[in-house]
């Protein structure tokens, strides 16, 4: 990281009462409780996606192993990506942003460390549950109850620390990035408790389950990921550009339209639910244009460019925000035309999911990780070149995954609509896009494997430095950091 970036008076961080290093130190171990797990689950999810897609290369490959079959591998991959990586990485970014902008050390860091442990245990238990056939049967909310309790507990622990950090802030006025970060901590427990309660614990009847599921899906993918992503964008774009965020009003407009419209967008348009629900869902999906345009207008003049050291992660941020814009445009086009009929129940659905979760959520949070890690560690990344390679592999891989699925999905939809084409031909037509996507998945694996390398080496170095300090000056408080490598 360049020293100029850390010391320069950047808009949200200027005139800090508490030195940023002290705040960063308070975040170090809590965030390093969340990040290694997230990095590991992300790499594992990429591998599991490839294993899942093997069923389309050689259908009989896993015929004798239930746990390796597509129906169990696919949800594992989705959950490791969404719950394993995106949510803890999002919380880590949110906590750090709250502490930095509030100019206060992270409150109750022990709760976050405990929460990270509970969360990772929950992911592990849930994954084993999925492999053992305990899936709940609701896409993207498939973790069994016994894993859900752990996730819920972890989210409350992390949330308490975050909300207390807001309460203890030294700056009375909240920065827009704090709005999004603060709400992102509040969001998950509510939606997950609702989904767990009404889908598994006390299930509602019949298609009312579909309504609950659609609501929870939209909250998780459309709202929560956007809260994370916009918080990161509103914090880092001004910091990297060393300018203030142009408009608080636009930011407020984006927040309110996002949380008011986003939750209503999850009902699948072909689903057998009352027509008013699909109608509202379509209208609200088109309304997603509002938060997207507001964020775009706000960040327009702040797009960080340049290849100065320390600026490279901004590539991930730029890619992520652009992916979100593109995703919104796609969703608006699908919902405002008859194209949704073609897209329903086809590969377009996983393509949109991948583009939103990997293109927007994962990319923005990767950028945040690569920007936050050197700051909380007080040392530069062990292998900055790997971070650069990670971005290129991940972005090219992702495009190779999403474009074939999208094109193949529209072709599949067009063929499904023509009853003269036998279904075996329609199904056979989906194989090639999935196989091409496997090539992109290979690149994603290579890329995502680089993150744990950086994170683990950094953690090892920090642990070693800490031990050395304890040995050198017994009883003394460990110093802030070791110098940049």
């Amino acid at each position: 990281m360049s020293p100029s970036l850390q010391s320069a008076p950047s808009a949200p961080e200027s005139a800090a009462d508490l030195p940023a290093t002290g705040i960063d130190r308070s975040c170090r171990w809590p965030l390093l409780g969340l990040y290694p797990g997230a990095a590991f689950w992300l790499a594992l999810s990429a591998v599991v996606y490839l294993v899942a897609s093997m069923s389309f290369h050689a259908p009989a490959l896993f015929a004798d192993y239930a746990w390796l079959s597509y129906g169990r591998m696919a949800p594992v991959a989705n959950h490791l990506l969404l719950y394993g990586f995106c949510i803890p990485a999002g919380w880590a970014a949110a906590l750090w942003i709250l502490a930095r902008l509030g100019r206060t050390p992270l409150a109750q860091p022990a709760l976050v460390i405990l929460g990270a442990k509970a969360w990772n245990l929950g992911i592990l238990v849930g994954t084993i549950g999925l492999l053992a056939g305990d899936a709940s049967g609701f896409e993207h909310f498939e973790f069994p109850l016994y894993a859900g309790w752990l996730l819920l507990l972890a989210s409350v622990l992390v949330g308490v620390s975050g909300l207390n950090t807001i309460r203890c802030r030294a700056v009375p006025e909240l920065h827009p990035a704090q709005w999004f970060a603060g709400l992102s901590l509040l969001w998950f427990p509510w939606i997950y408790a609702t989904a767990m309660g009404l889908l598994q614990l006390w299930p509602v009847r019949g298609m009312a389950q579909g309504a609950v599921h659609g609501w929870a899906l939209a909250q998780l993918q459309v709202v929560l990921l956007a809260l994370f992503g916009i918080a990161v964008g509103f914090y880092f774009f001004p910091v990297l550009k060393q300018k203030a965020l142009p408009s608080r009003h636009l930011a407020l407009f984006a927040l309110i339209t996002l949380i008011l419209c986003g939750p209503w967008t999850g009902v699948p348009l072909q689903a057998p639910v009352p027509a008013w629900m699909t109608a509202i869902s379509r209208v609200m999906s088109v309304c997603l244009l509002m938060p997207m345009l507001a964020v775009l207008l706000n960040l327009r003049s702040l797009c960080p460019v340049g290849s100065a050291p320390g600026m490279e992660p901004s590539r991930c941020l730029r890619f992520g925000i652009r992916a979100w814009v593109l995703w919104t445009v796609l969703v608006v086009v699908l919902n405002s035309t008859a194209l949704w009929k073609t897209a329903a129940l086809t590969l377009v659905q996983p393509a949109l999911f991948q583009w939103l979760v990997q293109g927007f959520g994962t990319m923005v949070l990767l950028g945040a990780i690569y920007l936050i890690l050197p700051r909380i560690a007080g040392a530069s990344l062990p292998f900055p070149a790997l971070a650069r390679i990670h971005f290129w592999l991940a972005s090219i891989g992702l495009v190779l995954v999403v474009v074939p699925l999208l094109v193949g999905g529209f072709q599949q939809g067009t063929r499904l609509a023509d009853a003269r084409i036998p279904f075996v031909d329609v199904a056979a037509g989906t194989l090639m896009p999935i196989r091409v996507a496997s090539m992109g998945q290979l690149l994603l694996i290579l890329g995502h494997l680089l993150l744990p390398v950086n994170v683990l080496v950094l953690v090892l170095r920090l642990v070693r430095a800490q031990i050395r300090q304890v040995i050198d000056e017994p009883g003394g408080v460990p110093a802030a950091s070791e110098g940049p490598a």
């Binding site: 079959s69 298609m207 407020l252 939750p263 057998p272 009853a419 279904f423």
Partner: protein, 293 residues
């Protein structure tokens, strides 16, 4: 928004609004729905799945079958046909009714009954035709057909409606069609042996099938004194070596029972359709809303 209190109030209001709209209201509207009467009959619908099929639903869930198969038939609209069942006694009046309806039929329209008079018309024209013909003393009925590519593929006679899922937990709607829709697989393929064989070796049963085999639902075991009556009859390279047999496990049998129970082939008030061919001696329907099965 300077204050944290205001921020969380906004978040709370937004969450509560969508919670009320998309969780509470659907719960009141469809979560409390009662079983419906099958149109033209006295059966309640849907019936709970029998025990083995209910277990099979859990096998379907555990193995993530819903990741490739949907369980929802899409319907685009409805088309109506008007059928002349009998001409009654006053044939001259019926023929003048034909003129009124602007029907020009080449041959004598009153022989070979019942016959289709109007095909693929909208509801108002069908209603008008039926009323005109019945005023003339003839007996006419309206046949309702669901339309759409799913219906044409034979995946169902009508679109799926919320009531179809009342007995299901979880509902297992599916979000993709990498495999065919299964809402009516029990109607399309009622043979349990076919299903077992298809699960064991899909590409041997359906040519060019891309479905992976589910051999882990079967057990290969040594034949004891007598072969098991459940053992699959397999030929060619699928057949186990002599002295062995392939027997479906309890899970496979339950899954097949579930697949056979997947049927939405009854007309409902909210999803009407008429049987594809008119009965030999059709009875005129009392009202247009009630199709004759």
């Amino acid at each position: 928004m300077k204050h944290a209190g205001m921020l969380f109030l906004t978040g709370f209001v937004a969450l509560s609004a969508s919670w009320a709209g998309f969780i509470l209201v659907p719960q009141l509207q469809i979560g409390r729905a009662s079983l419906g009467m099958v149109t033209g009959g006295s059966d309640l619908y849907p019936q709970p799945r029998p025990g083995l099929a209910a277990q099979g639903a859990q096998v379907y869930r555990a193995n993530g079958c819903y990741h490739c198969h949907s369980r929802q038939v899409r319907q685009e609209g409805a088309a109506m046909d008007v059928i002349l069942a009998s001409a009654g006694t006053n044939q001259a009046q019926v023929l003048s009714a034909f003129k009124l309806l602007d029907l020009s039929l080449a041959d004598n329209p009153l022989v070979g009954l019942p016959r289709d008079l109007l095909v693929d018309v909208d509801k108002s024209r069908a209603d008008f035709a039926q009323k005109t013909l019945e005023d003339a003393g003839a007996k006419a009925m309206i046949r309702i057909r669901a339309t759409g590519s799913d219906i044409k593929r034979g995946w169902g006679q009508r679109g799926s409606v919320a009531r179809d899922y009342l007995q299901d937990q979880p509902i297992l709607l599916g979000w993709q069609r990498l495999g065919p829709d299964l809402a009516n697989i029990g109607v399309r393929q009622p043979d349990p042996v076919w299903h077992l064989k298809h699960l064991y070796a899909p590409d041997k049963v359906v040519e060019r099938s891309s479905m992976p085999p589910y051999r882990f639902l079967f057990e290969k075991r040594k034949i004891r004194q007598t072969p098991s009556p459940d053992a699959l009859v397999l030929e060619g390279d699928l057949a186990p070596e002599p002295g062995f047999e392939i027997v479906p496990t309890g899970e496979a049998k339950a899954l097949v029972a579930y697949l056979l129970s997947l049927k939405t082939d009854v007309p409902l008030f909210e999803a009407p359709f008429s049987a594809p061919a008119p009965a030999a001696v059709p009875v005129a329907s009392a009202t247009n809303a009630t199709p004759v099965p």
